[in-house]
Symmetry: C2
Subunit: 614 residues, 2 copies
């Protein structure tokens, strides 16, 4: 189709009844876009006013739409919809954790993307494809599956970790899990997806080559180009370069480390660094990494064997992931390497490795509990070695520092990513990203996975690699990126957002509740109980005040006394007809007390008047 | 005195009446420690039982005590008491900010050390000496002066910044401010203090050489050994090395960067980096640094002149500090360099520098407001240059990222300390620290200013420099470090802690209120209003429920209905005598509802039953 029609395509209607009524001589059911073309090319005569009306119906196009629901312009919760005509596939279903800071998380345990868009187009959804099993790509799967049952496609390890999550939520029985294998293409409606092996800090991570009617996309997922991966499985550069030769319409590439110069060091370098530490260790080794860092866990298990130590795995996710990965043969170790805490109780420290979850200093996780000696049978001793073999997620530095300080206080030697190379990133640095662009030679380039800053820097990098600026597109969550075989543009914006999940109530916490919690956390509340005469509306007796989080009640009797007098004065001054309307009187009390408290204390507590009729 | 007496010294009494009664033939008033020595050396005969009793009176010793009130094992709020006999001087009066994280700060604006110890020993306090005017060393001054009026000694610039703080709190009129000058010694009771110039990211920062009856201390304050300081004033290495030759009992040295290898780059290097950016800038330059980074501000003002730009300073602290520093001749610039926002309104972007406070992404500060285009007459435009010339304080990364992302979205080029060298630390790196140790050659070494991790690493560094382990002492807040001319030990522990200040109410927020706020922020509250018959104690009607931050009330009518039934059932089941005691019945309701809500929702809202007698 020629470009001059592009602007009309998005306005084309999906309303068949009307189309047929307007053009009754049209015998075949055609896509409205084609209809428009037919009108133009075959000069079908029709009242232009009616066409106008026809054109402004909801869009249905034969161009491809890429719609990020989460993960663009933010860290974590990656989730993107690909739509062609009336079929949608989802790539990834990530989550992120609130974490960090000195305040509170408002009772939130996990944050996932708002899936209203998916709910509204439920009938179009075909499947979810997961690139890999890290939380920021697969951690939100239960929250989607719970509402929209969909087949889940992923490699066996990713499915294994997802299974554990689904079982926790009681969703496993009904879930449809379908294994993907690298280089085994899969057809889902108009999408032909070839999963390709790509190296990342997760075994069997995938990138997707997606062939659609408008052209081919390369979706990298998370990656770095590791030439010495722990499992020996290299990135499928052959297929990627093959597609580069054949033609790639658009490359969607991981931007996490776009600001970091150089080529990402191999996961293998962690082996060397940790080996040095293991060799020197004279007592216990207490090490923490992400429970989903299966490569890192393999390194630790290997080194334990090399230095004749047994391993005690601690933390629910750590124990469960090791079990799943071992069953699926992604982790290799002899049966007797792992001991329980109880079995290891009498083992001398120099024969022991404690492998604990909680590298981000989460207060209830194993590592933090060990740091404050609250883990039974695991006491930190002078000369022990504590290692945090993980990235520090921005925002978590304070809690992590607090944890490492506890280890230091107990006489342990501490190594973390600030002090030595006990961790390498799983995401490609600038030279990795350049190589990806040069291999795939895309017509269009769209940076994904990262904050706006990282996307922007990745875009400049792509420009430096020779991609013209007009072929580079910066998108944000909710943007509808429309691709045809020779154009890319943002055609629409859908509503996106975040859902705050409280694992306690196993469901979403409403924005209003969160707003109240934030409000309460800063200024507390005052409930004012007003006894009023049912018939006259007059205030009876002295109002009762209940307050928490505002001022210390024990020492604020004077303020409370003043407040009560203020209310009584207010009641006296308020005309009878206003007092008789309960709601009006409550509002008067609320407004006046707000002003009163602000003047007296500078604070704005939540004020809740209640009337009790007597 | 010989060492075997050391244990008794601290038990020695200050009770002269009793001493004279016991030893009436002792004609001169002597220090009790000497008294003990006299008893030993001159074999004065005395009933040993009486001596025993004498020895156990409250301690007053002729050894020196160093008592950190804040700033050891944590970042910020540095404050240390030095006591000899009954005289105390304070070094620094710092604060820290809650900041960071995705949650809330519980209504807290500033955190300062708990000064109960100072309050209890108010009559012993002689003065406060400030090393320099940064917030972490001088930001808590008002909260001490407000309760304990004391003379404040510091260099003119530090006093200038302190004056602004005192005026805000209405404390300036009564405050005694006394200027210090480098190399001009000051005698305060048993302490002879020589202020020495030391380089830091603050002009006229001081280190103190403190000569006491037991020996000389070197207290570095914050420092780096900058060989090309902006104001040309070098560290007084001459006096430091002179004291090193003469003999230093103990060195107390800044540990902030003890984990970072190398020598700290000079503040001057920032000149070069910023000059490169200024040269390339085609539009507005919007730059933020700490308002107390006077050197950095000088660099920015100099570069503005060099590139023919005018400067608009934004943010209360920025404007006030520039004014104070200019008046005191610490900042040098022509009158017409600074414009108001209004004056600069029509100036083209390439003739403008916006110098804004808020480098940590504080949402209400100038820089954040510019980022979201909420600053009148300052719109971010495509091609503007946004520079954060400051350290990112751990915990603030998320808010800072969110701010820089806004600049990126508006098309600005952004430079921060993650991406380029637009900031250098004001604290010495490992090689600076080694030089300090080698110059002063202390008998004892005590790392200060830093988290436990940094103190520990600094201690290892000192050991590597040849100081024996037994002469290195790691202390924590509240430790009473007792120094004699040849020994150092922790002899006692005083109560220390933090005070959380709400600037709104201009006073301390009690721990109980904070605990309630934290609690409310996670689970909200439910107030249960029970109408009871005054005589029978029977429940009248249906209980009223008021709740916020727990569940969304609009959609939880069912839960509230169940709750009301639960309470009615409870009232029916409770024996009459328990119901007649209001407090007992309220406790029964609270306990049962707690269990009920936990079962139904997994949450633990704060439950507050109220009875209204009718």
């Amino acid at each position: 189709m020629s470009n001059d029609w592009a602007d009309n395509w998005q306005l084309a209607t999906g309303n068949w009844q009307l189309a047929e009524k307007l053009l009754p001589n049209l015998r075949i059911r055609v896509n409205p876009c084609w209809l428009i073309r037919a009108i133009r090319d075959y000069r079908i005569r029709v009242n232009p006013r009616q066409i106008q009306c026809l054109l402004y119906f909801p869009a249905m196009t034969n161009s491809l739409e890429v719609i990020p629901i989460g993960g663009i312009g933010e860290f974590g919760m990656n989730c993107t919809a690909l739509r062609y005509e009336d079929q949608i596939i989802l790539i990834d279903a990530g989550a992120r954790f609130p974490g960090g800071g000195s305040g509170t998380d408002l009772g939130i345990d996990i944050i996932v993307p708002d899936i209203s868009f998916l709910r509204e187009h439920q009938e179009q959804l075909q499947a979810i494809l997961l690139t890999h099993g890290h939380e920021d790509h697969a951690g939100g799967i239960s929250y989607i599956i719970n509402e929209i049952p969909l087949p889940i496609y992923a490699t066996p390890l990713t499915l294994g970790l997802v299974t554990a999550r689904l079982k926790e939520r009681g969703l496993y029985q009904t879930a449809e899990l379908r294994p993907l294998e690298a280089r085994k293409p899969l057809k889902l409606g108009p999408f032909e997806i070839e999963p390709l092996h790509i190296t990342h800090s997760f075994p069997d991570a995938l990138c997707f080559a997606i062939t659609t009617p408008v052209g081919r996309l390369i979706w990298t997922g998370d990656f770095k180009l590791d030439q010495t991966p722990i499992d020996g499985k290299l990135t499928d550069l052959t297929r990627l370069s093959h597609y580069g030769e054949e033609g790639v319409l658009a490359l969607f590439s991981d931007s996490t480390n776009s600001a970091v110069p150089g080529l990402a060091p191999s996961e293998f370098t962690v082996y060397e660094m940790l080996r040095t530490l293991f060799r020197k260790a004279e007592k216990k080794i207490i090490i923490s990494c992400f429970a989903s860092s299966i490569h890192r866990i393999q390194i630790i298990l290997d080194l334990a064997q090399e230095f004749d130590r047994k391993v005690v795995a601690l933390g629910r996710s750590m124990v469960s992931n090791i079990k799943v990965a071992a069953q699926l043969k992604y982790l290799h170790f002899p049966q007797d390497l792992l001991l329980s805490r109880n079995q290891a109780r009498n083992l001398p420290g120099n024969q022991l490795v404690i492998l604990a979850s909680g590298s981000q200093g989460e207060p209830m996780a194993a590592m933090s509990r060990i740091a404050v000696n609250e883990m039974k049978n695991v006491a930190v001793e002078q000369g022990d070695l504590a290692i945090l073999s993980a990235r520090m997620i921005p925002g978590n530095e304070r809690v992590i520092s607090s944890m490492t300080n506890h280890f230091y206080r107990r006489g342990a030697h501490v190594f973390d990513s600030r002090r030595s190379s006990v961790h390498v990133s799983g995401h490609g640095l600038r030279d990795d990203l350049k190589l990806m662009i040069n291999l795939t030679r895309p017509q269009f380039f769209i940076p994904i996975h990262g904050e706006y800053r990282q996307l922007k820097i990745h875009a400049s990098l792509a420009h430096d690699q020779g991609i013209p600026l007009e072929r580079i597109h910066l998108i944000e969550n909710g943007d509808v990126l429309q691709l045809s075989h020779n154009s890319v543009r943002i055609s629409d914006k859908i509503n996106v957002g975040r859902r705050f999940i409280d694992e306690g109530i196993l469901k979403e916490v409403h924005e209003v509740v969160l707003r109240d919690r934030r409000y309460l956390s800063e200024d507390g509340f005052v409930v004012v109980i007003l006894r009023v005469d049912r018939s006259s509306g007059e205030l009876i007796g002295v109002p009762e005040l209940i307050s928490r989080g505002f001022v210390l009640m024990d020492t604020s009797e004077e303020l409370m006394e003043l407040t009560r007098s203020e209310i009584i004065k207010l009641a006296e001054e308020t005309p009878m007809e206003e007092k008789q309307d309960e709601e009006i009187f409550k509002e008067i009390v609320r407004k006046n007390l707000k002003r009163f408290f602000r003047k007296k204390t500078g604070k704005r507590p939540m004020i809740l008047p209640v009337t009790i009729e007597i």
